[in-house]
């Protein structure tokens, strides 16, 4: 994305509560962005020599793989859980004026901590171990993000730079940890951790129907966090401080809000949610840590937060859409033989159009109010 950080922040942090325009920004622009991205995906397929029948099959497979069966819905939700959790944190950061690129590293650190804590205390019963493990994941993610927050608050180091660097550091910390004898799986010489004990795992929700259904109890965690973040942002005092310092840091400061503390707290909350995403992923899906187990979730979560306009409910739907694209993308490759890379292109195009609402309005003027006031910024 070639947009400047300022443009993005402007697009993201546009205040809510302007009626029709709010509806357009929250619903119409994202919907159009998704549709254009799918159409562009079709063009890309045509350009790479895929014939029209295969393209049709590919889109049928995309829909079928995303929402067409119980297994598809289960896969879609399973894929949505971590990106929604991490996306909630990023959206909260955006609201507070912080462009946090570090979800990837926070997911890794949270997940790694969850794995180590899980197998270290495997004698504890489920009712204690599982929640405790999630809390550890959250705290470690929060602490890791707070480093970037503290650097910003104390030295003015920009969080975009410091979180990117912290991502790189987290990859190496993970590589190092996976080679330690107390972490590495017995009998293996490649970097892979011991498994998380059953008592720490998020229970599968649907395995009584079919053991292949991977949906896990992280679903409830995700929904609870959507509610919590909504409450935090729009009903709590600290959430008001987050939003106020995001809208206008100077005004917030003169109103007596401690700007440094707010930055650190907002980063820590965002990191805690990303850490939870990592915890949910290792405890619900992966059952162990391996190099780069975050697999780009932290970057997908940025797209999800953008698509959801940093609103908890928007992020929930955006995350489900991205989960659907991922699950459907696999089906697309199986049924039509279309490369799974195409899904990456479609996701990227969605982000481009979301981040450029003016472009969407320019291409599809009839979707919006005619007087143009809503379009101008």
């Amino acid at each position: 994305m070639s947009l400047s950080n300022q443009d993005l922040q402007k697009a993201l942090l546009r205040p809510l509560g302007r009626g029709r325009q709010e509806f357009e920004d929250l619903v119409v622009v994202p919907l159009i962005a998704v549709v254009i991205a799918l159409l562009f995906g079709m063009v890309v397929m045509l350009a790479t020599g895929v014939d029209i029948g295969t393209i049709g099959r590919a889109f049928v497979a995309l829909a079928k793989g995303a929402f067409g069966s119980l297994n598809a819905v289960s896969e879609t939700l399973t894929a949505a859980i971590p990106v929604v959790l991490a996306g909630l944190g990023l959206g909260l950061g955006f609201r507070a004026g912080l462009f946090n690129i570090g979800a990837e590293g926070q997911i890794l650190m949270g997940g790694l901590a969850a794995v180590i804590f899980g197998f270290s205390f495997d004698h504890l019963p489920f009712a204690i171990l599982m929640p405790l493990t999630l809390i550890v994941a959250m705290l470690v993610g929060a602490a890791y993000a707070a480093i970037a927050g503290a650097l910003r608050a104390l030295t003015g180091a920009h969080e975009v730079i410091s979180t990117i660097m912290l991502n790189l550091i987290s990859y190496r910390i993970l590589d190092y940890a996976l080679r330690q004898p107390f972490v590495q799986k017995e009998g293996r010489s490649d970097p892979i951790s011991k498994s998380v004990p059953d008592a720490a795992q998020l229970p599968k929700l649907l395995d009584w129907i079919d053991p292949n259904l991977r949906l896990h109890a992280g679903l409830f965690l995700m929904l609870a966090m959507v509610l919590f973040v909504w409450w935090l942002l729009f009903r709590s005092k600290i959430g008001f401080a987050f939003r106020a310092s995001g809208e206008n840091p100077d005004a917030a400061k003169y109103a007596g809000m401690p700007s440094g503390l707010i930055i650190v707290l907002a980063m820590a909350t965002a990191g805690g949610l990303a850490g939870l995403a990592g915890g949910a992923q290792v405890l619900g899906v992966l059952e162990r840590a391996s190099p780069g187990f975050s697999a780009g979730l932290g970057f997908d979560a940025i797209a999800v937060a953008l698509l959801g306009r940093s609103h908890p409910v928007g992020i929930l739907f955006a995350g489900i859409l991205f989960g659907g694209l991922e699950a459907g993308g696999r089906q697309m490759q199986v049924d039509a033989g279309v490369s799974i890379d195409l899904i990456g292109i479609i996701q990227a195009l969605i982000v481009v159009f979301i981040a450029a609402p003016l472009l969407v309005r320019a291409i599809f003027p009839w979707g919006f109010r005619k007087d143009g006031k809503g379009a101008a910024e």
Partner: protein
């Protein structure tokens, strides 16, 4: 908008109704290197392609983009349309086991993993690649002018280090036969430690690791890391075959990477195409059984590729010795090991 989406829908429906294939279908889940990696995954996929051509079956594949995709990919092949699911790679061992136990009626075959105890619906395919790599090591020791050869791997896992073990033992065998002292950089079979890129994707790493080995004096390098080795081949092409030669792995890389045919001394063949093809054929004619199949020098499951550009450069004497070593390994008179 509406108009466009209607066209799309209509096209999709037409296309959807055209696919009514009930043919035998073999499905494959690749590892992260990708289906076109000129080596490991491509060779395994060739097994399916060959079966498609020979038996008229359908073939589908699903590429893994990260280790975290394995379970999800296996899961999306569970709709009953696959008659056999072939998983490619040691790292998929746990995911394949879980899927096979959840779906006892689905036939699976995995490349590079041996379950102990075996699973009734999984056929493991493993390879005595150390035998073939032993020949490559012997050849490299005989061809090296600097007296230093090198190797590096993608990940420190048994299917990779088997190549490196055999390579070192082959060099050692040459030394003991000829009283030379050719040394191997990059792998210590006793300590199980060596050079690893820790990925199977980065061509840049392949170039950098080969450069390091070259700087340390190696004039023949065997990269065991899938497409990573293509980066090493690119470096060797720039330096010229006199300075640096590459030994390919998995497939005959002169065939899969013809751009660099001038620098491949030979390739250590791991005939996954034939074992994958055999597993598919067994599933198709009803003789499929879980267990283990082992590719060796004796059954041509592993071997050494032709020397191609170096056909004339390899002395006839060395070729004759290689034939003798090969026969010795098969009849057991030469042990591949310390």
């Amino acid at each position: 908008m509406k108009f466009l989406s209607k066209i799309g829908l209509a096209a999709a429906l037409v296309a959807g109704s055209m696919t009514a294939a009930n043919a035998f279908t073999a499905c494959q889940v690749t590892d992260v290197g990708g289906i076109d990696d000129a080596g490991f995954n491509q060779t395994a996929w060739k097994g399916v392609e060959d079966a498609k051509a020979a038996m008229g079956i359908e073939g589908r594949f699903l590429e893994s983009q990260a280790e975290t995709d394995y379970a999800a990919n296996l899961n999306s092949l569970n709709d009953g349309s696959c008659d056999i699911i072939v998983t490619v790679g040691f790292l998929m061992g746990d995911a394949t086991k879980a899927a096979a136990e959840a779906n006892p009626n689905q036939k699976y075959s995995i490349v590079d993993f041996a379950y102990d105890p075996t699973i009734p619906n999984v056929l493991g395919q493993v390879f005595a690649t150390d035998q073939a790599a032993f020949l490559a090591g012997y050849l490299a020791a005989g061809m090296s002018k600097s007296g230093v050869v090198g190797t590096f791997g993608g990940l420190n896992i048994p299917p990779v280090t088997a190549f490196m073990d055999g390579f070192v033992y082959g060099v050692n065998h040459y030394n003991s036969q000829h009283g030379t002292s050719v040394s191997v950089l990059g792998w210590d079979p006793a300590a199980k430690e060596g050079l690893f890129t820790n990925n199977f994707e980065s061509l840049d790493d392949g170039r950098a690791f080969a450069q390091n080995l070259y700087d340390e004096g190696a004039d023949i390098v065997m990269p065991v890391a899938g497409p990573v080795g293509l980066g090493s081949a690119a470096l060797a092409s720039e330096l010229g075959a006199d300075a640096l030669k590459i030994i390919g792995v998995d497939a005959d890389q002169v065939a899969t990477d013809p751009d660099h045919e001038a620098i491949y001394l030979t390739s250590v063949l791991k005939r996954m195409d034939s074992t994958v093809g055999a597993a598919i054929a067994a599933a198709a004619d009803g003789t499929f059984a879980g267990g283990l199949t082992v590719g060796t020098l004796e059954n041509d499951g592993v071997g050494l590729a032709p020397f191609h550009a170096f056909e004339d450069a390899v002395p006839a004497e060395l070729k004759a010795e290689l034939d003798a070593v090969r026969a010795g390994i098969i009849d057991g008179s030469i042990k591949v090991g310390m």
